[in-house]
């Protein structure tokens, strides 16, 4: 931390530090979280501060240690498991989808899994396909999981405590482009109930719904559109499962137009789901077909220009919103 400002990375670290300090049951484990300091430097210094029992380096065994987190949660602990990126979480997807998400229901509500799994997601660092995917949509498909996407410093700092207090498994997706974002020290009040979507910028003519790494882009786009006299409302989902559809519907009923921005691939995307729900529930309020701006149907490529072209960018958000508004 530096003066009164903080980075997203530091905000997450502060959240973890607070959690470990406040609750004996909390411990952190994952690949390189300790001696190395975290692959995105999020957990730097925590090993020195808390010791090896509370900050555990694990072998390269995603399935093994995520499953161990599930077991530790069953056993009364409150583990925070870090999986380096969502890409590698697929090696643990059996544990996440077949165990964490199902145990409560299969056991007739007798055993719950109060586990938090954090992972990095998203493109933008030219890491090529196997390190750039946005698969939080896939997990958001699964009943039994809760899926969070902190996009602001306040959420990075304060969502973790709520996730740890939740009796069910919560997955937290941190977009890699957000780690270096900095801003004034956030306040806990700026991070209300994790299940709530928030209006980040009020507007009257179009609802721009997004989350995570796309939020800053959407905010920028809204600024540019405002310069052209177009008034856009930006909604940050924050929680991808369960979806706070009420906030979306209220907004769309007011603005009568919906554009969803989602870094997942278009086919089978969360954006598609939101469009469908809006079509089902707000059809008679709509002045235009719901639109979505997603990643292109391609594994995220390495070269900068192609990576940018594959994922939604500010100019495209501006163009898509303007096209919907100017077609009035």
């Amino acid at each position: 931390m530096n003066g009164d400002s903080i980075s997203y990375r530091e905000a997450v670290r502060e959240a973890i530090r607070e959690a470990i300090r406040n609750d004996d049951r909390v411990f952190l484990m994952g690949e390189d979280v300790g001696h190395y300091g975290g692959c995105y430097a999020v957990t730097k210094g925590l090993l020195q501060e808390f010791g090896e029992a509370r900050v555990r380096d694990t072998p390269l065994s995603e399935s093994g240690f995520v499953g161990a987190g599930i077991g530790a949660a069953l056993g009364g602990m409150r583990p925070i498991v870090e999986v380096m990126t969502v890409n590698f979480s697929l090696l643990a997807s059996d544990q996440i989808v077949n165990n964490a998400a199902t145990l409560r229901h299969m056991s007739g509500n007798q055993v719950g899994v109060p586990l938090v799994i954090r992972m990095a997601t998203g493109a933008g660092k030219q890491l090529a396909a196997q390190h750039s995917h946005s698969l939080e949509n896939w997990y958001a498909h699964v009943p039994g999981l809760k899926v969070l996407a902190p996009a602001t410093l306040a959420d990075a700092r304060y969502l973790l405590a709520q996730a740890l207090a939740d009796p069910d498994p919560v997955l937290i997706f941190e977009h890699v482009l957000l780690y270096n974002e900095t801003g004034p020290l956030p306040k806990a009040e700026d991070c209300p109930d994790m299940h709530k979507a928030l209006v980040r910028r009020p507007g009257s003519q179009l609802s721009l719904v997004t989350y995570g790494g796309s939020l800053p882009k959407a905010m920028q786009a809204a600024e540019i559109l405002a310069g052209r006299g177009l008034d856009v409302e930006v909604i940050d989902l924050r929680c991808l499962r369960p979806l706070d559809t009420q906030t979306i519907f209220t907004s769309v009923k007011k603005t009568k137009r919906l554009l969803v921005v989602d870094e997942g691939w278009r086919t089978g995307s969360l954006a598609g789901e939101i469009c469908a729900q809006v079509a089902e529930h707000c059809f008679w309020s709509l002045d235009a077909p719901p639109q979505r701006l997603c990643s292109q149907e391609v594994p995220i490529p390495y070269p900068k220009h192609l990576e940018l072209a594959a994922t939604p960018q500010v100019e495209q958000i501006v163009a898509a919103a303007a096209a919907m508004l100017e077609a009035r």
Binding site: G67, G75, M77, L103
Partner: protein, 326 residues
Amino acid sequence: MKAKAEELDHQLTLLREMLRIRRFEERCAELYMAEKIRGFLHLYIGEEGVAVGMMQALAPDDAVVATYREHGHALARGLDIKAVMAEMFGKASGCSRGRGGSMHIFDGPRRFFGGNAIVAGALPMAVGLALADKLKGLSRVTCCFFGEGAAAEGEFHESLNLAQLWQLPLLLVCENNGYAMGTALAISESEQRISHKAEGYGMVAREVDGMDVLAVEAAARECVDAIKQGKGPRFLECHTYRFRGHSMFDTQLYRSQDEVAAWQEKGPIVRLRRKLEAAGALDEAKWQQLEDELRQELNEAVAFAEQAALEPVEKLTWGVYQEGAS
């Protein structure tokens, strides 16, 4: 050294426990044919000596983790037979509220954590249960059952490595019945002594005759004692055999009737029965009495399950998240 009479009494209890599981599952097979029980039904018949022997060494607050072939483990662990039968029927009063069925038997208070139908999927979870106890400084054991087929999965290796690396209070029990569905060990593993794989991770491992409930019990006690003394995890490979098919759909083309018959001769129940008869602790009348008691108990369990209510469809999405948490 226990007094002889006391020892024979204990052996009679073990016999009763094994026979109870056997009769329970035979009844389940009938109920399956009568379409009262559906889905996959994996019988444990022939392997009862392992679960019953192992459970003798576990305390009530130790944890048990099992696979889809877990009726024996559940009953030996002391789950209510009525609740287990109702679960087989998918009724609301089943031990998993009917949500799990045969493959997902759970009992929170008894620390019975499944009932897992993903081969090797529960091993990492068992590692975590043991880790939680170690972190809390509790002297408890987590006992995890799995088949020899699980040794081919990556999660088996990840789990053994973690358990040994972190010196966890974990007892890994491999129920080696020679077949993963229809795949014999010899055609699936380069190293067929599963205990050697555990040794490869530096773990203390041993093998035991799983058809001898007394041998299993003795081995289990030794392992649990060592674990509770903080000596790290233990691996026990129990050589056993299932007399029935893998599930109710198995035509058993992969093995001969002679092979099955040879193993049946060595069955855990006949073996202990003969031993007790030779010692004069059991006769035909006493056996009949035992059978009658078990039949009575089972009839009551089936009647309970038959009469139990189905969960109303309105409650379909209940129990996905903790109520009131969102």
